[in-house]
Symmetry: C3
Subunit: 258 residues, 3 copies
């Protein structure tokens, strides 16, 4: 993360402190997420010490969000129930509970892309997406400048997953060169990464840093998990173990954040 005041080294050191806060505080993360991702997302959060909840019920979700430290809104398998839940949850979150938007598969449905744009206008701290989703949301190809421009225009942080992840808040840009190709072969890996960013937001008010940390943590865990994996099945198991065992020095040594 480049900015006038700090060096990349500082950022990496901050990662370690953030990881410790995550484990120490056990933040509650309420997740509106797709049916495919719910179990894996919950296990990823629990592995890092966060406490997931996932209700979508319109009559209960406000109570859950009020008691949460962060919120995730993921648009996979989006339906009427999730749309209604999202409206209430985002309203309840207001300025108290930071939230992450993950606009899954908006490149497949114009309707969903439109809903994602409406949600961006409601002020998520972070929008995490891949290249196809960024193009669907903005109408243009992803680049450092395009991310920064979108982040500035919408007063949010954009976190883009790819071979190298990019995070931009309009002033600063960070790149995270961690991760492993097997991550693309396990369903809900991106969704779990967004949930992890939400957990980081619960313990780090600077959304740029929280997003960078979340992507670095899951990327480093992915590299560690790949070492012993025989395929995406054992990899999905190993990444949960790796998140559970990840410590500050390992994270600091392996994170390639610039």
């Amino acid at each position: 993360m480049h900015s006038p005041q700090q060096s990349p080294r500082d950022d990496v050191a901050r990662l370690s402190a953030l990881l410790e806060r995550l484990r120490a505080r056990s933040p509650r993360v309420h997740c509106i997420t797709n049916a495919v991702a719910q179990n894996f997302t919950a296990n990823v959060l629990l592995a890092l010490g966060a406490v997931p909840s996932m209700t979508l019920d319109a009559e209960e979700i406000a109570a859950f969000v009020r008691g949460a430290d962060a919120l995730l809104v993921n648009l996979g398998t989006f339906d009427r129930e999730r749309r209604r839940a999202t409206g209430i949850a985002v309203e309840t979150a207001g300025r108290e509970v930071p939230w992450v938007l993950d606009p899954v598969f908006i490149d497949r449905s114009a309707r969903r892309a439109g809903f994602a744009a409406e949600l961006v206008a409601r002020g998520p701290q972070v929008v995490r997406l891949n290249h196809a989703e960024f193009a669907a949301l903005t109408g243009g190809e992803a680049s450092c400048d395009a991310l920064a421009a979108y982040a500035r225009a919408h007063k949010t942080v954009v976190a883009l997953s790819g071979d190298t992840d990019l995070v931009a808040d309009g002033e600063r840009v960070a790149s995270i060169a961690n991760g492993h190709p097997l991550m693309a072969r396990v369903t809900a890996m991106g969704c779990a990464g967004s949930a992890l960013i939400a957990a980081c937001l619960a313990v780090e008010p600077d959304a740029m840093r929280a997003a960078t940390a979340g992507l670095a943590i899951i990327g480093v865990a992915g590299e560690l998990a790949a070492a012993g994996a025989k395929g995406p099945g054992s990899f999905a198991v190993a990444i949960v173990d790796a998140l559970y065992r990840l410590d500050g020095p390992t994270l600091t040594a392996r994170a390639r954040v610039t």
Copy 2:
């Protein structure tokens, strides 16, 4: 399980017989459970030879419950569809199909706590919950006496998960000192334990014994699984294997039921 007529040794021997009946009879267990827990719960039941079904559809659920040997009602991710399904399922179960109530996260939503209280009045054979949920349901802290009083007043069996599990039916109290801290790091572990109690109810008419057995079985499996686990990912896999391989002698030797 202390009672005038029997020694703890007898209870442990009974566990082994119950486990054999479970495998021999392959009971059908219909589960109204949360979206996060469905897959793991089904695999836990299958590992012990039980046959899970999970439909929530109002027009089908009566047929499924009529054909089932036990029913689970879990309040995680509770919504209108699950509320309606539960009404029909409990009505259909009547006195024929024993059922377990798992009032997940009622400490987070007053509305859900109220619904749980209504369900207790409809006569579940067992209510399984943790300390926070017990407090939300009863307004008081969990203790042997509080459990017994609640069980007596509501003519049910209360099974409380914690460092040491407690089971009370108003006359008898059992404690189960098995399990492992990693169980709290895997989502749906408690939900799966409740499903396992439902499976035990299908082959053991004494609900006190069924609840005790279910908690002992999953607790012992948790200890066996923890031995080789590198974190919650491999632990969740290993506990399914351990349930599948668990035999009567191992269960009898390791169960710490008093």
Copy 3:
């Protein structure tokens, strides 16, 4: 697969070519499937290079099906949302997108069996089911002749899972003697097999061959996975790894298709 024009050896050689096409083309498979099976099904598809999507929303599903290369309709945990989604999806698929029907648990609910019969009339390329489901659908016991008669009458391919799998299209009958008993101890294994057949349909226009290939691929992967598994937990992980690593020569050498 016996037919006048070809020998079983040819069929096995074709399997290898189909597997290569699957990995090369990464077909999109839209799945209307049950809540228990969604995660495992997605991971099985990803392991073979296919790209799953799972939305059920009535306002989005047509866009997803139009962009898909194959469709799965699985009746597990069937509800109003899935019923409505299925109507739109099958209508959208028309003659462009091949689809597979998996009538899960129709032996448990007369209503669901009736809906399955209606869906068969709408022209799925393949119907995959087990013996109890075949009996519920047709009113008779499964046999080579019964399968062929049903396939002929309904202009579809019937793929029957059992100790030996059978596939019939009215003229040809194939048997696949692969697989492992642990496959019956993991939830959603049959559902994932149906999804795999859908993926095969995306790259093989002969539905008879696609169904045979799908069952052979998952059966061989099951045998490979069982070799190192300690129970159904590690088996479920290992079969995803095995699907990811499966190559043409291994498939050709191990497939017992006649």
